[in-house]
Amino acid sequence: MSPWLLGPVQAALALLLAPGLVGAIRWMKARLQNRSGAPPWQPYLELRKLFAKEVVVSNNASWLFRAAPFIVFGSTVAVTLLVPLLAVPLPFDGAGDLLVVVYLLLLGTFFLALAGLDPGSPFGGMGASREMTVAALAEPTMALAIFALAWSAGSTNLGHIAARVLATPTEALAPGHVLAFAAIFVVTLAETGRLPVDNPATHLELTMIHEAMVLEYSGRYLALIEWAAALKLLVFFTLLGNLFAPWGIAAALTPGALLWAVLTLALKLLALGGVVALVETHIAKLRLFRVPELLSASFILALLAVTASFLLR
């Protein structure tokens, strides 16, 4: 298989799996809470329903409101071309590394926040400002954790980072790595709107962060945004799984290796999803003024990750 085909294949696979991941997490949470819950493929049905519905746009909205879903969706899909979902090295290695990935995701968040402000609804504004607070605090942590990983690997290129851990398996348990994992895990919870930062299943507008920004959306716009959110979750999980425990990634582009890569990826996604479901069932949502405390703690974890990698180079 030509290496250039790998990019679109990865993107297609990610698009396919993402809603399933969200559904799986919801299903696991339901089971943990002793409910039967909706089947794991429920989000696919929701997306199909949304694409068929009509779009209602507020009179106060500008071009930004209509453009934002496409920008968000586009940037997130672009990210899937850059993360090591299935194989290393990636065809777009020259174009993007870990920093590009992070800032593409931030681009999406930025436009979503703007779109929340655009129609002039108070809930949208509230959600946008909260989302920006969380993003502003999570950003340095992400950057530092990446720095820690890059230090020990010698480059911010995702492929190189994954390859390094593959080469020396004991690196995976190095203190710097473990701390960076913990820091990025907390950032994942914050950026994808999971408990204890934001409850994805809430219907109380005053407690929403992500949902509040997209309250005004409907129809195919909402479908795109929901899909992008699921994709973002998948990307973060992929980073957590394939950077810190990269076993299973295909080194050669043979069908067998790729199939194995898909299987191990699915396994890692489910495992991480299970952990998140457990965390969400176990912890209550933090009050908003406590969120900076949590994110400061993760910042310190990232800082310690940097010093640990530095000390052991």
């Binding site: 004991t170 348990l173 190095a174 203190p175 473990v178 701390l179 900076p292 405390e293 400061s296 703690a297 910042f299 310190i300 974890l301 800082l303 310690l304 010093t307 640990a308 000390l311 052991l312």
Partner: protein, 219 residues
């Protein structure tokens, strides 16, 4: 046990000890603080045992056992008893809020790294890699003592300081002479007991363990 593995484990163990110390800045509530201290003492005992295994020095094993017994079990039990007496008090906002405290803690760790750079370059021991973190804990403990308002938390800060010095000693020198070690243990245990008595006294005299009330003696 290769020296590289020992280096990694030293840094790992020291990181756990330091994280428990930073947890004192993060979590509120006396119970959480006592839990953090217990975790820290256990991590310290484990690190000491690891160094003991590496050097083959049985005295370090004895020290690790003592650490576990006194600081991992004994002192937390006494602290729990105190917490039951005073734990129901209203949560006090520390002098510096949590997010800022954590950031200051991070800065202190960086400062410790700068200060101990010269130490690490001088030593040949494989365990020296964890020393900056131990020094970081010294500074963080000092910060805890200064910035917290409850007398009980200040006592915990002091105990953490002693843990930090013990970690520094183990990593830098593979253990100080045993007489001194035993003496230090006794001192810390006695000091803690006396401090405990004082906290009770403060509670009886002032009806709370808020250190801000201790402001009658000025100039």
């Amino acid at each position: 046990m290769s020296p590289e593995l020992v280096s990694q484990l030293s840094v790992g163990g020291s990181t756990l000890v330091l994280l428990a110390g930073l947890a004192m800045l993060w979590r509120r509530g006396v119970r959480a603080h006592i839990g953090a201290f217990t975790a820290q003492s256990v991590a310290l005992a484990a690190t000491t045992a690891m160094v003991g295994w590496f050097t083959g020095d049985w005295q370090l094993w004895a020290v690790a056992a003592l650490l576990l017994l006194i600081k991992g079990v004994g002192i937390p039990i006494l602290l729990e008893r105190m917490a039951r007496r005073f734990g129901t008090e209203r949560e006090l906002e520390p002098y510096v809020n949590t997010a800022t405290s954590l950031l200051v803690g991070g800065l202190l760790v960086l400062l410790a790294y700068l200060v101990t750079a010269r130490l690490v370059s001088v030593s040949q021991l494989p365990t020296r890699t964890g020393m900056p973190l131990a020094m970081g804990l010294v500074f963080v403990s000092l910060f805890v003592i200064i910035s917290r308002k409850k007398a009980l938390t200040q006592v915990l800060g002091f105990l953490m300081l002693e843990n930090a010095v013990a970690l520094l000693a183990v990593l830098g020198t593979h253990g100080i002479p045993i007489i001194v070690e035993i003496g230090v243990f006794l001192d810390v245990a006695l000091g803690f007991i006396v401090m405990q008595v004082f906290v009770y006294q403060i509670h009886e005299t002032f009806e709370s363990i808020d250190v801000e009330q201790l402001n009658r003696l000025r100039e």
